[in-house]
């Protein structure tokens, strides 16, 4: 048996042209986690975007809920090779949260309750490509799937869609996150099968 679990829910069932290379279709929602599940009370929850100059923009849970939410329907692709098509989310577009943020940064380091981090170019969080998501398939996002809120950036492998998101540090220089510093690809485009460093 290989070290990396291929979704640990059984054999590949389907593949097709709508799936990125090397992926198989699943209809359940495997839970992947590199640590204990943080439980963050909503009255203590906070999301912060911090610029490269240290300027912090903060939202409480009430602040987030007061913003108009999108309801994106997106395909998601896990680097452990499962994909899930047509998933329905509700969340606030990053474009809305970034609207009043002045920055020269090109890179973002996403930070989670529990200590997880992941990095990506800031432009991948803009232009309708990313959300702070708090509902999944009509239900509040469950803690094991990243609730109360997770980043949703579905055009990249799903490890970039950080669960339990707490903040985003904007940076002039790139900095690898949790998996990016342990062998995984810095960018992680599933359509180019960028799983590992060097892919």
């Amino acid at each position: 048996m290989g070290i990396v679990s291929p979704g640990f829910r059984g054999r590949p069932r389907e593949s097709g042209p709508e799936l990125p290379p090397g992926q198989y279709l699943t209809r359940d929602f495997p839970v992947l986690s590199a640590g204990p599940t943080p439980r963050v009370p909503l009255d203590q929850w906070e999301f912060t975007i911090t610029t490269e100059t240290g300027q912090a923009h903060r939202w409480s849970w009430a602040d987030l809920m007061a913003l108009p939410g999108d309801t994106p329907t997106v395909d998601i692709h896990c680097v452990t090779k499962w994909s899930k098509l047509g998933t329905n989310w509700q969340g606030v577009p990053l474009d809305m949260l970034m609207a009043d943020v002045t920055t020269d940064a090109d890179y973002a380091l996403v930070q989670s309750y529990g200590g997880y981090t992941t990095n990506l170019p800031l432009q991948d969080l803009r232009d309708g490509q990313a959300w702070i998501a708090y509902r999944f398939e009509g239900e509040d996002l469950a803690p094991e799937h990243g609730g109360p809120a997770r980043l949703l950036v579905p055009h990249l492998y799903f490890w970039k869609s950080a669960k339990w998101v707490r903040g985003i540090q904007l940076m002039l220089e790139d900095e690898p996150g949790f998996w990016e510093s342990a062998g995984y690809h810095n960018y992680g485009d599933p359509w180019r099968e960028q799983r590992y460093q060097g892919d």
Partner: protein, 102 residues
Amino acid sequence: MTSERAEWGRHQVDSEMYEDGNALAGPLGEIFTMDVTVAVSRCAGCGLAGPVARLHVYRHAPGWVARCPACEGVVLRLVRGPDSAWLDLTGAVSLRLPMPTL
């Protein structure tokens, strides 16, 4: 890492998703000729020393993540790609390995 460890403590947590460090015997056995699960690791976060077999191992993830049973800080990470393995021990001050007497 210090703030990460503090974070784990502040937002504890239940999870049945980990196994004990014996789960590392297979993947580490691909790299080391000896059984590293009997080694004693010292956590870089809280200083706890104990057998690797006692670490909390999260394997339902893109790699293997072994955490300190006391502070839940990451002690060891292992990612196995198709033709490379990445082993990160920055969370371990040391590994004490049983050796034959000189």
